[in-house]
Amino acid sequence: MQGGWRACGPRLWLRHVDKRVKVKTRRQEHRGWLLSVDPVSASLVLVNLVESRASVCVVMGHAVEEVELLQDGGGETGEHIWSFLNPTPPCSLDA
């Protein structure tokens, strides 16, 4: 996926969501659970749970050099992570 993160498109981005990923930029490397990818800017939202707190990192799409899948999400991971960001679990805007 080198160099082509922006070109991957929303369907491939969605397949990475709720999974643990490694994101490389020119100088740094970030790891975390992928909460979402902004389809407009291709930026990634990564979350790491540290001692019952959530540390959130947004990596800007233009700076991404490589994204690697590390681990599939396990069961409650997604909801568990959202509980740190929102008092209520996410519901669809369509509902």
Binding site: R11, R27, V37, V40, C57, V58, M60, A63, N86, P90
Partner: protein
Amino acid sequence: TVATTEAAGGDEEELQQEQHARSVLRERFLRCLLAMNNKKVRFNMHENVTVEATFGSSDIDVLNFQVSDLHTPIGVQKEALIRSQDVISFTFDA
């Protein structure tokens, strides 16, 4: 013509899937932006520059971030816009 109709049908389905993926991702991203509001955020910028500020919001294209109390090396800027092109990543604690 059957083949072209089928191809068009496939494209239509693909487009719908893509639009659905786009809307799911965008909604989740917007919820993250909401969660960032009023949080102390650390911006990692080019040339190893790190600045801290209180996150406000971003514009719809995510071209600029609106922040308050931006701590720069030459002082604290009460209100500021940060160009997203100048940012590599940013972090906050939820």
